[in-house]
């Protein structure tokens, strides 16, 4: 079967591009690092790829607000290509800074006008924090699962967050209700038993502990935690030494995408 082609987008300040590409590589995809300038200038075209990954980092220094300048750049320079990409049934993932970009560009939760309906703002603690968090995967069962990226994942997973602006907020109650109704909430911060919990379990004060959402198609997914930092057992902060090699829980997310593309295209 042909390997899916992943465009790992990078620009000034992107810094999780290599490990994200490595995660896709481990999952069985062919990942390429592509600078935004190459897409804007037409040197590379988005339609060569089946998956678009927007990795973590501090694009444009997080100046103004995290992800904002990249969101505008893509929205004003590549809007048509992006909408075509989604329209053709392809996949997009935004991790950390990539999630901030997807939300601020209006691609998530997503509407026809690409109007911004939610945001990721400064953590309640007012500081950048790196810590591991438990996440409850919502609706991962084969039947009702909306998000193709998290299908079949265990109910509780463990991933690191590392951000200063990750507090998820919505424009109004209607947006939140719609997210729930459409099964667009994908992962929520929780304690080790899966119950909703406050700081530090919810590391930033996100509304209802929301850590990641998808669009209505389930193919565009954004989350603050870093699945690419837990694709191998050695990356777990309490890995117990064993001779068995185990993969980290994050890898399943990238594998899901690979499987989906291989089936569909």
């Amino acid at each position: 079967m042909q390997k899916p082609k992943v465009c790992v987008l990078r620009t000034a300040g992107t810094n999780c591009d290599q490990e994200t590409a490595f995660a896709f590589f481990k999952a069985g995809a062919f990942a390429e690092l592509v600078h935004t300038n190459s897409l804007v200038s037409g040197y590379k075209a988005l339609d060569e790829y089946q998956i678009l990954a927007i990795p973590g980092g501090f694009t444009y220094g997080d100046d103004v607000a995290a992800g904002k300048i990249l969101a505008n750049e893509l929205k004003y320079e590549l809007k048509a290509a992006l909408l075509d990409f989604i329209g053709e049934g392809k996949l997009i993932i935004g991790i950390c800074n990539g999630f901030q970009m997807l939300v601020k560009s209006g691609l998530l939760p997503g509407n026809a006008e690409l109007a911004q309906e939610a945001s990721l703002t400064i953590n309640d603690s007012a500081k950048f924090e790196d810590r591991w968090v438990y996440l409850k995967c919502i609706a991962t069962g084969r039947q009702k699962a909306k998000c193709v990226w998290t299908k079949g994942l265990p109910e509780i997973i463990y991933l690191p967050v590392a951000h200063g602006e990750g507090k998820f907020v919505v424009r109004d109650k209607a947006v939140l209700a719609r997210l729930k109704r459409n099964n667009q909430i994908v992962v929520e911060y929780c304690d080790e038993k899966g119950s909703p919990a406050s700081y530090p379990h919810n590391p930033n004060g996100s509304t209802e502990g929301i850590a990641g959402i998808c669009d209505e198609t389930g193919r565009v997914f954004g989350l603050m935690p870093h699945p690419e930092r837990h694709i191998h057992v050695l990356q777990h902060p309490r890995w117990v030494r064993s001779h068995k090699r185990l993969e980290g829980v994050g890898l399943a997310i990238f594998k899901n995408a690979v499987v989906y593309v291989q089936k569909k295209f």
Binding site: N15, E19, G61, K68, I69, N72, S119, T121, D124, R241
Partner: protein, 972 residues
């Protein structure tokens, strides 16, 4: 035309920044601030239409979900009769605003042109009954630093044109300095007035050189010499002659202290894993078949004292560039940061004039490191923070970076006729005189005269440079690379062209603004710049690499074969110096060094039966307590290679001994990074301090499962004024300790750095820092999955103490609790220690070790307590089983061993090891021939219980209590 846009959180949205400031105000002891509101201000200059400014606001600057905005709507600072105070803080003219470039880009994406400049400012609205004095304290202590910012008195001033930087009227004419006719007094005056920090002897040498040329130097030539000869760049103390007298014995002459000690150890050891030592920006050792790794630690003390955020920020940026400028460029894979501050609860009223409060320095330094390291995407995985009153005028900020590079890219050589290409940010007036300034002492006036040397960094610019340089490196587009650090272009080009000669057209250097003189262009320390030596036939391709990712790269000259440094500016030859004179011409002054072993009072604290309170106080000692508040702000996982993080344990919050990363994701090989630092031992004897620091750094490598194979060390000396014989005496003594210990352990030094003149003068009284040596160690680990962590794993497992405990309480933290220094400083016996390290390393590789922690500050008791609460398990231990060692040299009569001494002695080369019962025999067989004792076991009950030498309980406490004692002090 100027537009001022204010952006603030909508009502009902939690203002996290404002809330943070409110908490800081409360920490200052001011309780009357009811609320603080924060707004971000953007000042946009350009001939724009109102609809354009609306579009910029709505589509770029404002988050419509959480923020509101207003345009050109100001509040006056204070309306009489109200309790609302408004403070606007803006950058000083000429200070780089890191956000400007990004915002300009964002505006351009909106297809709006005609914007001339963008500046940012901050607005704070404080509600509460505050006096003018309180307001001034809040502003000065929290909201701005006058070196880079100012309070905007009348916000309407934003709307008027401020001339950014005063220009030089005669920027084209060449200035000379009259040295030929200058008397000695005049020479001294020229050096002082020009902030050259050159001694009379050096000034005479320069005069002599120009007498030979029968002309006076230009200002630029004199500056170039001052930069090149500065302590910072040339290490005159280490490289000079020293007449050293120890304990009144016959003086000995040391010719080049570095060669006589540190470098000598490396040469004599001649280890196969060393690739490049003491010649490049960083030391290089072998990693695997295809790669090498490099390691460098720098200090950025002086700038951090004046502007903590900017100082630490540019410190990190600088050491990353060191790594990028090593060989043909290394990719940074992790950072390490070690700080020394005065106590964070230092009384405000005792603060010497001109100094910032240590808590503010600490917060600023941490924020600066966080900002640069995180934005560069480099995990900060290791560090330490120590405290002592003597750091009040001079905090220490050590920043280190490890890099990885292809084996064949480990060496560089600029060639004749190569183009000199300047890559990165534009040049401004920032950082003029950094190199010379850091070579002098600070005074209460430094903040006024040296403000030009303070700057803030732009990590995103550097990230762009990193990305593109690695690309150009892999395309083989250049022959040599170095960073623009202290001394700016003068150091970078001067150093690269040392054996060739160089010709530079200064007017080709891209500038941030007009008005810089040629000398300023030449010595500016503007951040985020690198210099490349590029073959002419590859120039076009190279420039395209940078252009494709929006990085500025400009050819500014070429390397020649004239052996001369020639600088041109607008047709004039403004500098024409012999490279040989520049690099070899400085006089080698003879300095005096005296060391006399001090005698401290020997009054041990009262020996009490219940030592639990002492243990809790030790756990809360600022040097020992949890640094989680700091560590969490650093991204220690980016790049995905972290195997052992700075925090570990069942709740990910215990103190790891060393960090392990896997720099290549597809390879099992690891890199271990550790550090040893303990200035307290230097109060008694810097020789044993140095040996102990080396022992500590190596011990941590062993504790995480590493070995002494493929290990290398870095030295970083931070000392007082080397012209004072007692200061220099301690330095020599420490360097001798480095030689003996490195030789004894068989571990080479590969690079190092010194920062001298860490003294602070106020009212003619000089306060020096304690002579402080940081030893950083790096090791290659064959298989990172062999890592051992420090927290207890399983009830029932056995606990061993390995290594002998002696009555070495001198300069211990236990003594420090009672304000005692003492005299029995811990010694190092490298032969024995090496045996212990090797045996333990073998036990780890056989996977016999479940947990291991080194005993350092606070001794066995603190180490065991940390292992227990990090593992969420209890332990029982018996001091009778701890192997004791004799202190060799002591004038005191022998005493019966005391519980507190055994518990808290800081003897070197010791570990606590957790072993499964099933492995008891095999482990003990491994340990044969070295001191070890089976002294306890891991228990299910969450209690730490230690039985004294008499069999009675001397420590008993719940692990939650102990953890609380350890975490409470820095839970900010």
């Amino acid at each position: 035309m100027f537009w001022v846009i204010e952006v603030k959180d909508k009502p009902g949205i939690f203002d996290a920044i404002g809330a943070g400031v409110k908490k800081d105000i409360l920490d200052l002891g001011i309780k009357s601030a009811r609320s603080v509101g924060f707004s971000q201000i953007y000042i946009i200059e350009g001939n724009l239409l109102e609809e354009e400014i609306n579009r910029i606001s709505e589509c770029l600057l404002v988050d419509p979900i959480v923020q509101d905005h207003s345009i050109n709507d100001f509040e006056s600072p204070h309306l009489k009769g109200t309790s609302r105070f408004v403070i606007y803080v803006a950058y000083n003219p000429g200070v780089m605003d890191p956000a400007e470039a990004s915002i300009m880009k964002g505006i351009a994406d909106l297809r709006i042109t005609r914007v001339r400049s963008v500046k940012t400012a901050k607005k704070y609205c404080i509600e509460g009954k505050l006096t003018d004095r309180q307001l001034a304290i809040i502003s000065e202590k929290l909201l701005y630093n006058k070196l880079i910012q100012h309070i905007v008195k009348s916000p309407a001033a934003f709307l008027s044109h401020e001339s950014p930087v005063a220009g030089n009227k005669n920027e084209a004419s060449v200035l000379t300095v009259d040295l030929l006719r200058a008397s000695d007094t005049k020479l001294k005056q020229i050096s002082a007035q020009g902030q050259l920090f050159l001694s009379l002897q050096e000034m005479r040498q320069i005069k002599h050189y120009f007498q030979g040329l029968k002309r006076n130097p230009t200002d630029c030539e004199l500056e170039t010499i001052a930069q090149t000869w500065s302590e910072h760049c040339q290490h005159k103390t280490f490289r000079g002659k020293i007449k050293y007298c120890e304990n009144h014995s016959r003086p000995v002459m040391i010719n080049d202290l570095l060669k006589a000690t540190i470098i000598r150890a490396t040469k004599e050891l001649n280890k196969s894993w060393c690739v490049s030592v003491f010649q490049d920006n960083a030391g290089i050792i072998k990693f695997d078949e295809k790669h090498n790794i490099c390691f460098k630690v720098e200090t950025h003390n002086h700038p951090s004292a004046l502007e903590p955020f900017g100082g630490a920020n540019t410190g990190v940026g600088g050491v990353i560039r060191d790594c990028l400028g090593t060989g043909l460029g290394a990719k940074p894979v992790c950072n390490t940061d070690i700080f020394c501050f005065a106590p964070y609860d230092y009384p405000l009223q005792k603060l010497p004039a001109g100094t910032l409060h240590p808590k503010r320095i600490m917060k600023g330094v941490v924020a600066g490191v966080r900002d640069y390291g995180n934005k560069m995407g480099i995990p900060t995985v290791n560090g330490a923070i120590l405290f002592h009153e003597q750091f009040i005028g001079n905090p220490l900020v050590y920043c280190g970076t490890v890099g990885i590079l292809p084996k064949e890219k480990s060496f560089k050589e600029p060639l004749k006729r190569d183009a000199i290409v300047l890559v990165g940010g534009a040049t401004g007036r920032d950082g003029i005189h950094g190199a010379t300034f850091s070579s002098g002492e600070l005074t209460h006036n430094s903040e006024n005269i040296s403000s030009g040397s303070v700057q803030i960094g732009n990590p995103i610019e550097e990230k762009k440079i990193l990305d593109t340089i690695l690309k150009a490196r892999d395309l083989n587009l250049y022959n040599a690379i170095t960073d623009c650090g202290a001394g700016g272009l003068s150091s970078a080009v001067g150093e690269m062209g040392k054996d060739l000669g160089a010709k530079v057209e200064l007017c080709k250097v891209p500038l941030k603004y007009r008005g810089l003189s040629y000398t300023e262009i030449w010595i500016s320390e503007s951040q985020e710049r690198m210099v490349l030596s590029v073959p002419q036939n590859k120039l076009v391709e190279l420039l395209e690499v940078f252009r494709s990712e929006n990085v500025r790269a400009t050819p500014i000259g070429e390397f020649t074969d004239t052996q001369k440094l020639q600088l041109y500016y607008k047709g004039n030859l403004v500098c024409n110096l012999d490279m040989h004179f520049l690099h070899e011409g400085s006089p080698r002054p003879e300095k005096k060094a005296v060391f006399v072993t001090p005698r401290h009072k020997e009054n041990a604290p009262h020996n009490t039966k219940n030592l639990t309170p002492s243990l809790k106080r030790l756990l809360g000692h600022p040097d020992i307590c949890s640094k989680e508040w700091v560590i969490r702000q650093y991204d220690h996982e980016v790049q995905g290679g972290s195997v052992l993080r700075p925090l570990c344990g069942v709740a990910n919050d215990g103190p790891s001994d060393a960090a392990i990363i896997k720099p290549l994701l597809h390879s099992p090989k690891g890199v271990i990074v550790s550090n040893g630092i303990n200035f307290r031992f230097g109060f008694i004897d810097p020789y044993w301090m140095a040996a102990s620091c080396i022992d500590e750094a190596l011990r941590q490598i062993i504790a995480v499962g590493g070995s002494l194979k493929n290990v290398a060390l870095l030295d970083n000396f931070c000392w007082g004024n080397p012209d004072k014989p007692d200061r220099l005496g301690g330095l020599v003594r420490a360097a001798l300790g480095c030689y003996d210990a490195a030789k004894g352990f068989g571990v080479p030094f590969i690079s190092g750095k010194d920062s001298l003149n860490n003294e602070y003068t106020v009212k003619n009284k000089s306060l020096a820092i304690p002579g402080t040596l940081l030893i950083s160690a790096i090791a290659v680990m064959e298989d990172a999955s062999g890592a051992v962590s420090m927290y207890l794993k399983e009830p029932g497992n056995l606990l061993y103490v390995v290594g002998g405990t002696a009555e070495e309480l001198g300069a211990s933290h236990y003594y420090d609790l009672s304000g005692i220094v003492g005299n029995n400083v811990p010694k190092v016996y490298p032969k024995k220690a090496r045996q212990i390290f090797e045996v333990l390393s073998r036990a780890s590789s056989k996977r016999l070790v479940r947990a291991m922690h080194d005993c350092a500050e606070g001794g066995i008791a603190v180490a065991l307590a940390e292992m227990a609460f990090a593992g969420g398990l209890g332990a029982e231990a018996f001091l009778k089983e701890v192997p004791l060692a004799q202190v060799r040299v002591t004038k005191q009569k022998a005493q019966a061993p005391r519980n507190d001494f055994v518990l808290f002695s800081e003897s070197n080369s010791r570990f606590i090891v957790e072993v499964e019962r099933a492995h008891q025999k095999e482990f003990e067989r491994c340990m044969r021939g070295i001191p070890f004792g089976l002294f306890g076991c891991v228990s299910q009950e969450k209690q730490l219980k230690i039985f004294g030498l008499d069999g009675q309980v001397c420590i008993e406490a719940g692990i939650a209590q102990l953890k609380e004692a350890w975490q409470a002090p820095l839970r900010w």
